[in-house]
C-alpha cells in the first residue's frame, strides 16, 4: 500500500537523521602518522584577512623558491571569533588541507590541549634562540612548544611630552604626575576598562606588573591569592576611585582612549603601537608633535605588558609536515619578519630586528616596543582561556567600579578559574 510506503520514507528520514547525529560526535585528536613528518608536497596556509597585503607576496616568494612544494593561501574573515570557529570546525573534521594555521596567542593552549597542533619537537623543532622570550612562552603549553611565534604586540605608555618632561617609570610616579593633569584640567590616565577582552589585558598587566600571576604554569591552577595580585588590582581600583582614571574610562575600548588622547584630554594612555602613527598623522589629532612613548610603568621599573600577536602552528592532520615545518621556519626568518614589519607594521618576533636602523627609521616606536615586549608576560596560557578571561573580566569590572572589594573580587576570580578548569 502507498500509505505504508509513505511511513517507510518517513522512517528512513528518521534513520538518516540518526546517522547524521552519529557522525557529528567528534573524537579527540590523534597525533597523525609518523611518515607525515618527513613527507613533502603542496600545503595550505590559513590566516585571517590579510589587510596589509603581506601574506600573498611572502607566499609568492616561497613558491618561487620551492616550485614543488607550493603553498596556497586560505584567507579567513577579519573577525577573530569567526577565525577561531573556522579553525575549530576544520580541526574537528580532521581537514588535511589546513596544514599551517595562524592562531591568536590566546588560542594556542586550547588547540594544543585538544591535540590539534603538532608539537615542535624532534624533527619538527625550530630554532627559538633569536626570538623574544615572552613570545616563545605564549606558544608553550605544558613545557612543550606547540607553535612558532609569528607576530607580536605589546602595550606602551603614550604621554604628553609638552606637559611631562620625563615619562614615569613606576606606577607610583605616574600617579603623582597626575597633579600635572589636574592643573592642566585634563584626565590623567586611561587604558581599556570596558567589559571585554581589553579589560583582561589591562588587569593582567596590573597584576603581572605588581609581581603577581593569574594562573600557574600548568594552565589551570589559579594563583590569585597573593599579596602581589591584590596590590596590582588595588592600583587600578584606587586610581579609578580617586579620579586619576576618569569615570568615563569604564566604557573605554582602544578607540575611545585614543580619541581622548588625540583630542588632548588625556595625559597618559596605555595602548597598542597602532596609535603611534595615527596620533602623528590624524587630521583631528591635537598632539601630533607633543606626545612621546615609553614602556609601561611597573612596581619598581618597567611594567609587564600583556602580549598580543599570532603564532604559526602545524596541524597534526597535515599530510606534508616536512614542508609545513620549512614554511614555518621561512615565516620566522629575519627576511620575512622584516617584510612583515615594513609592509604591514607588524611587530617582529626576532629580537635583532628591533635594533635595525632602517626599520627603526620607518617604525620609530620599535626601541620602546622592544623594552615592552622583552618584559611582557603572556595572558594566561590556559586551554580554558575564554572561561578564565570571563572570570577575570566579571570580577575585576565589579572591583574597579567599587561594587566589590579587591579581596572578594580576587577570591571569586580564583574560585571561578578553578571551576572553569574543572569542566564547568
Amino acid at each position: 500500500m502507498r500509505a505504508q510506503r509513505v511511513s517507510l520514507v518517513i522512517a528512513s528520514i528518521a534513520a538518516a537523521g540518526l546517522v547524521l547525529t552519529g557522525c557529528s560526535s567528534s573524537g579527540s585528536g590523534g597525533t597523525g602518522s609518523d611518515n607525515a613528518l618527513t613527507s613533502r608536497g603542496p600545503i595550505t596556509y590559513v590566516q585571517g584577512k590579510d589587510n596589509s597585503n603581506v601574506v600573498r607576496p611572502t607566499i609568492d616568494r616561497w613558491n618561487k623558491l620551492h616550485p614543488k612544494e607550493k603553498v596556497t593561501f586560505k584567507e579567513q574573515s577579519d573577525q577573530a571569533d569567526q577565525q577561531h570557529d573556522d579553525l575549530v570546525q576544520n580541526f574537528q573534521a580532521k581537514n588535511k588541507n589546513y596544514d599551517v594555521v595562524d592562531v591568536d596567542v590566546v588560542w594556542t593552549a586550547e588547540f594544543a590541549a585538544k591535540g590539534w597542533l603538532q608539537p615542535l619537537t624532534g624533527k619538527m623543532a625550530i630554532d627559538t634562540s633569536g626570538l623574544l622570550k615572552p613570545t616563545v612562552a605564549s606558544a608553550t603549553y605544558n613545557g612543550k612548544l606547540y607553535a612558532a611565534p609569528q607576530t607580536s604586540d605589546g602595550g606602551m605608555l603614550y604621554y604628553r611630552s609638552d606637559l611631562v618632561k620625563t615619562p614615569p617609570t613606576t606606577w607610583d610616579e605616574m600617579m603623582s604626575d597626575c597633579s600635572i593633569a589636574k592643573k592642566a584640567g585634563i584626565d590623567c590616565y586611561a587604558g581599556q576598562y570596558a567589559k571585554y577582552e581589553g579589560l583582561t589585558v589591562n588587569v593582567a598587566e596590573a597584576i603581572n606588573s605588581a609581581g603577581g600571576t593569574i594562573v600557574g604554569s600548568d594552565g589551570k591552577t589559579p594563583t590569585l591569592d597573593t599579596p602581589e595580585a591584590a596590590k596590582g588590582l588595588q592600583n587600578l581600583v584606587d586610581a579609578y576611585k580617586n579620579g586619576n582614571i576618569p569615570k568615563a574610562a569604564i566604557t573605554y575600548q582602544e578607540e575611545q582612549g585614543r580619541m581622548s588622547f588625540e583630542a588632548g584630554k588625556l595625559l597618559f594612555l596605555r595602548n597598542w603601537p597602532y596609535v603611534y602613527s595615527l596620533a602623528k598623522t590624524d587630521g583631528s589629532s591635537k598632539v601630533k608633535t607633543t606626545f612621546g612613548i615609553a614602556p609601561l610603568p611597573g612596581a619598581t621599573g618597567i611594567g609587564a605588558s600583556s602580549l598580543g600577536g599570532h603564532n604559526a602552528a602545524i596541524s597534526v592532520y597535515s599530510a606534508h609536515k616536512a614542508t609545513a615545518h620549512d614554511f614555518v621556519e621561512f615565516l620566522e626568518s629575519a627576511e620575512t619578519q622584516k617584510f612583515f614589519a615594513t609592509q604591514g607594521s607588524l611587530a617582529p618576533v626576532v629580537a635583532s630586528l628591533y635594533t635595525d636602523a632602517a626599520l627603526d627609521a620607518k617604525l620609530p616606536y620599535l626601541p620602546v616596543l622592544l623594552k615592552s615586549i622583552s618584559s611582557a608576560v603572556p595572558r594566561p596560557v590556559t586551554p580554558f582561556y575564554p572561561a578564565v578571561s570571563t572570570a577575570v573580566q566579571d570580577n575585576a569590572y565589579a572591583a574597579i567600579k567599587g561594587d566589590k572589594s579587591v579581596a572578594k573580587a580576587l577570591s571569586d576570580m580564583q574560585a571561578a578559574i578553578s571551576a572553569a578548569s574543572s569542566g564547568n
Partner: protein
C-alpha cells in the same frame, strides 16, 4: 490545527465506496505534497534540536592530569542542567559547590530575569507606540506615503547596524550626552545601559508592530465608524469599543511574534553593551549567555540552549492557550462580518 482533509469539502454526494476511495486518494496526494516540507523541517529544525538535546547530557571534555590534553567527558546525566538551573559547579576535587561569580553558570537567573524584563518592557512600549503609529498611518492625509516610509525606515535597517548606530549615540562623548547636557555612562551604568537597550529596541521594532496592526486596522469596515459617528460616539469611545476589539486578532499575533523575538534577543545588547553594565552583566540575555558558553564548553551550552528553547516554547504555549482560541474565533467572526 486542521488537516488537509478538513479543508476540502465534499462537493457532490457520491456512493459511499467511491467517496471513501476518493478521500484515500486525497489523503495520499496530500501526504506526498507536504512531504518536502516535513523533510525540510526534520533537517533544519528537528535534527539540530535532537542533537542539542543528546549533547546536553554529555560532559564537556576535561584535561587529563598527566598529559595536559583534553579527554572526552562521558555521560553527564542532568549535571549540565543542574549547573544552569541550580548553579552547581564541580570543584577541583570533584565535589559539587555553588558556582562562584565570574562563572557563567552563576549568571543564569540574572540573564533569565534580564531577558524577561526586556521582553515585558519593550513589548508593552512597542504595542502602545505601534498602535499609535498604525492609527496615524491609517488616516488619509497629504504626505501619508512619506510618513509611512519614514516610520518603516528603522525596521529596514539591519539590527547590527542599529546597534552600532546607538552605540555611537550612547558613547560617553556621544550625541545623547551632548544633547541633554548629561554625563551618563550609557553603556556601563546598570539602569542606563538597560534603558539604552530598551530605547534602541523600541526604536527598531515599533515599525514592525505598527505594520501588523495597520494590516488589522485596514480590515475594519468604514461603515462601522460611520454608524458610531451617527450615534454620536466620542473618539475615545470609538477607539475602545470599535477599533480595539476589531484589531485585537492582528494585535495578538503581533504581540506573540514580538514576545518570541524579544525572548531570544541577542545582537542588540551584544553589540551595544556587550552584555555589560552595572555589575558587568546587567544586559546579558539568555542568548548572549549561550554564545559565551559555546566557547568554553559545547555540551553545557547545549543544555543552556535547550533550557532557553523550553522557556520560549512554554511562553508561546501559554500565550496561545490563554488567548489563542479567542484569536481564531474573532478572526472568523470578523471575516464573516466583512463579507
Amino acid at each position: 490545527m486542521t488537516t488537509a482533509t478538513d479543508i476540502v469539502p465534499p462537493t457532490t454526494p457520491a456512493p459511499r465506496a467511491s467517496k471513501s476511495r476518493k478521500r484515500n486518494r486525497e489523503t495520499r496526494s496530500a501526504l506526498w505534497l507536504i512531504l518536502p516540507t516535513i523533510v525540510l523541517l526534520a533537517i533544519v529544525i528537528g535534527y539540530p534540536i535532537v542533537t542539542a538535546i543528546i549533547q546536553s547530557f554529555q560532559k564537556d571534555p576535561g584535561l587529563d592530569a598527566a598529559t595536559g590534553l583534553f579527554v572526552t567527558g562521558g555521560f553527564a546525566g542532568v549535571a549540565n542542567y543542574a549547573h544552569w538551573l541550580f548553579q552547581q559547579c564541580m570543584s577541583s576535587t570533584g565535589q559539587t559547590i555553588a558556582c562562584p561569580p565570574g562563572n557563567l553558570g552563576a549568571g543564569f537567573w540574572n540573564a533569565a530575569g534580564v531577558t524577561f524584563f526586556f521582553t515585558v518592557v519593550t513589548v508593552i512600549l512597542e504595542t502602545v507606540i505601534g498602535t499609535w503609529f498604525a492609527i496615524i498611518m491609517n488616516r488619509t492625509f497629504r504626505g501619508r506615503g512619506l510618513v509611512r516610509a519614514a516610520i518603516l525606515v528603522p525596521w529596514a535597517i539591519p539590527t547590527a547596524v542599529t546597534a552600532k548606530l546607538w552605540y555611537f549615540i550612547f558613547a560617553f562623548a556621544g550625541i545623547a550626552n551632548a544633547l541633554f547636557h548629561t554625563s551618563i555612562l550609557w553603556t556601563s551604568d546598570e539602569w542606563a545601559s538597560r534603558f539604552a537597550i530598551i530605547i534602541a529596541d523600541t526604536w527598531k521594532t515599533t515599525p514592525f508592530m505598527a505594520l501588523l496592526i495597520l494590516a488589522g486596522l485596514q480590515l475594519i469596515p468604514e461603515e462601522v465608524y460611520e454608524a458610531a459617528r451617527m450615534d454620536g460616539a466620542s473618539t475615545f469611545r470609538t477607539f475602545t469599543t470599535i477599533t480595539l476589539p476589531l484589531v485585537k486578532p492582528a494585535l495578538m499575533v503581533a504581540i506573540l511574534f514580538r514576545i518570541l523575538d524579544a525572548l531570544r534577543m541577542y545582537d542588540l545588547p551584544a553589540i551595544l553593551t556587550g552584555g555589560g553594565g552595572g555589575n558587568g552583566n546587567a544586559t546579558t540575555t539568555l542568548s548572549i549567555l549561550v554564545i559565551k558558553q559555546v566557547r568554553s564548553g559545547y555540551n553545557s551550552a547545549s543544555a543552556l540552549s535547550t533550557i532557553t528553547f523550553i522557556i520560549i516554547f512554554l511562553v508561546a504555549f501559554i500565550f496561545v492557550r490563554v488567548l489563542g482560541t479567542n484569536v481564531v474565533r474573532t478572526q472568523e467572526a470578523q471575516q464573516k462580518g466583512a463579507k
